[in-house]
């Protein structure tokens, strides 16, 4: 269990024998490109069992590409990837992974209820898609965690951005994953939903789940995060305790989503990365 009230001690600081725990994600010298543009230029990223790691960086720094390569959606041009100690090519145990994609407005072309969408996240734990009592219970529990259990019969097309994000997180939680990977879960999410998401995440961390999340900034999740990895131009520039917020960013309750002002340091945003 993590004590979220205390300052988090980074694994390197010796607070916990992090090296003793098995690596859940192991990315070594990873390079990847989108089109002809190199996006990752030799990224090393290790996430150990029970850790909560935030991947930070400006737009276009490659943080989304990094998580998408971890789940096999962006092929690595070189480097190695292992999940739960298994080389990626032989990894089959997808039921242990819960994924929350960057929120898209593109819903399917046919209406679907919240329960139908969240149930899709349980499929990996079922045999041939047959739902048993335990599966229905897991779906219901996931919906309770994000505070949407009273709206199971509503169409997902009629939800606000924050509610939609809560449904996508419930979908990932329905499979009771050991590893939770989230791509910008807080982007464009209202304050109430952010708090719900933070408490849902706290529950997952409490039961021992490993979490890797892409964030634009730490925000309300800060107390949960053990370690931050900062990317710039496809390279890791920081790997350690979460960076201290400075200036206006340090104000309590400060949360915003905006492109970073330092445009010269950033490659042009092509839209391919998001």
């Amino acid at each position: 269990m993590k004590d979220t009230g205390q300052p988090v001690i980074a694994p390197e600081a010796g607070g916990r024998p992090a090296e003793d725990r098995s690596a859940v994600i192991e990315l070594r010298g990873a390079t990847a490109s989108l089109g002809s543009r190199p996006v990752l230029r030799g990224v090393d990223l290790t996430v150990r069992s029970g850790e909560v790691v935030a991947l930070l960086g400006a737009n276009g720094s490659g943080k989304s590409t990094a998580v998408r390569s971890v789940i096999g959606q962006v092929p690595l041009t070189s480097g190695d990837l292992a999940l739960f100690g298994t080389p990626f090519r032989r990894f089959k145990d997808w039921a242990r992974v819960g994924y929350v994609p960057q929120r898209t407005t593109a819903a399917g072309g046919v209406p679907a209820t919240i329960r139908e969408v969240v149930t899709a996240g349980r499929l990996a734990r079922t045999k041939l898609g047959l739902l048993r009592k335990a599966d229905r219970a897991a779906v219901h529990h996931a919906l309770e965690l994000v505070g949407m259990a009273d709206r199971v019969k509503d169409s997902v097309n009629a939800l606000s951005g924050g509610q939609h994000q809560r449904v996508l997180i419930a979908r990932a939680l329905a499979g009771e994953p050991d590893l939770l990977i989230m791509d910008e879960p807080m982007a464009g999410v209202d304050l109430a939903s952010q708090e719900v998401l933070a408490s849902a995440l706290r529950e997952q961390v409490g039961r021992g789940a490993t979490v890797l999340l892409v964030l634009h900034e730490l925000g309300p999740l800060e107390p949960l995060i053990d370690r931050a990895v900062v990317l710039r131009d496809g390279c890791v520039v920081h790997d350690g305790p979460p960076p201290e917020a400075v200036g206006q960013h340090a104000l309590p309750g400060h949360d915003h989503v905006h492109p970073h002002a330092d445009a010269a340091a950033e490659p042009l945003r092509t839209g391919l990365l998001s």
């Binding site: 789940i71 096999g72 959606q73 089959k92 145990d93 997808w94 039921a95 992974v97 994924y99 994609p101 819903a107 399917g108 072309g109 046919v110 209406p111 679907a112 209820t113 139908e116 969408v117 149930t119 899709a120 996240g121 499929l123 990996a124 079922t126 898609g129 739902l131 019969k153 509503d154 169409s155 009629a158 979908r171 499979g175």
Partner: protein, 294 residues
């Protein structure tokens, strides 16, 4: 019900019932994947199969099924690898399939231009007992896949990337959808024709989703609409001498219009049930400075 005394009408009604069930059952996944026109493309390609069947003097339905399946697999491969040029490649395939079919039919002795029309627009009363066996077998296959694998197919069509991360065999399921759509096209070929088959895959789904909020209800309603229009269309074409395919499609469009008209008051009632609206009202005695002048 004197029409039921005729064996050809019995066959026609059974074929219509089967098509009314199977076409929306696979069509819903195509609509969910935003590929509503895929059935139309497969129909074009299947015509080459019909022509080939006539030329080889074998059953046009089976050859059409084989060619449509190959065509649908090629379409799926273009979707994976084609990227930006994909739509042009698909256009080649569609019109090549159509032109090839007309050419092959012209080359064969049996395939006259009159025959061509029955395949393009359907000729439900000419369904033969042999055709029926084919239709039964293929329809059973389509239903087994669309109902039996509904959760997997739903996941793939709703969010392909998420489905891959869940470990579902996404490529296999996508191929299965393509092949099932191809089989459905050839099942429906004699009933509504290759040019109109896609309508029966798409319009019942479009009508059903006007009034439903869930995938399951949309599925059931679409199938009900499909059965209703194929049966009434076939019956109408018996009593009034009109082509069955066109009648069925026009009935489906009429139902779509009715459902759309029903949808607005329904949505309003649901919104009212979900919560009372805003209670703030503009005060009756508005002062002049509230008015904005330009």
């Amino acid at each position: 019900m004197e029409m039921l005394d005729f064996a050809f009408m019995q066959r026609a009604l059974i074929a219509a019932l089967i098509v009314g069930i199977t076409a929306p059952a696979i069509g819903i996944y195509l609509v969910q994947r935003r590929q509503a026109l895929m059935g139309d493309g497969i129909g074009h390609v299947a015509l080459t199969g019909v022509g080939l069947g006539f030329l080889l003097n074998t059953s046009p339905v089976w050859v059409a099924t084989a060619v449509a399946v190959v065509g649908s697999v090629v379409m799926e491969l273009i979707r994976w690898y084609g990227k930006t040029r994909g739509d042009l490649a698909l256009a080649m395939l569609f019109y090549g399939g159509m032109a090839g079919g007309v050419m092959l039919m012209n080359l064969s002795d049996a395939g006259s231009s009159a025959n061509l029309g029955t395949y393009l627009f359907g000729s439900i009363t000419t369904v033969s007992p042999q055709d029926m066996t084919t239709i039964y077998v293929l329809a059973a296959l389509v239903l087994a896949i669309t109902v039996g694998l509904r959760r997997q197919l739903f996941a793939v069509c709703q969010d392909e990337e998420f489905a891959r991360v869940t470990g579902l065999p996404v490529r296999l399921l996508n191929l299965l959808i393509a092949v099932t759509a191809a089989v459905t096209v050839t099942v429906a070929m004699r009933v509504v024709g290759l040019l109109l088959v896609s309508a029966l895959m798409v319009i019942p789904v479009a009508a059903a989703q006007q009034i439903s909020r869930s995938f399951a209800v949309t599925f059931a309603t679409a199938v009900a609409i499909g059965v209703a229009v194929t049966l009434t269309g076939t019956t109408a074409s018996y009593y009034v001498d009109v082509p069955s395919g066109a009648t069925i499609v026009l009935f489906a469009i009429a139902l779509f219009v009715v459902f759309t008209a029903l949808a607005t008051p329904l949505a309003r009632r649901r919104a009212a049930a979900a919560g009372k609206g805003c209670t703030l009202e503009v005060p009756a005695s508005r002062t002049a400075e509230d008015d904005v002048r330009v």
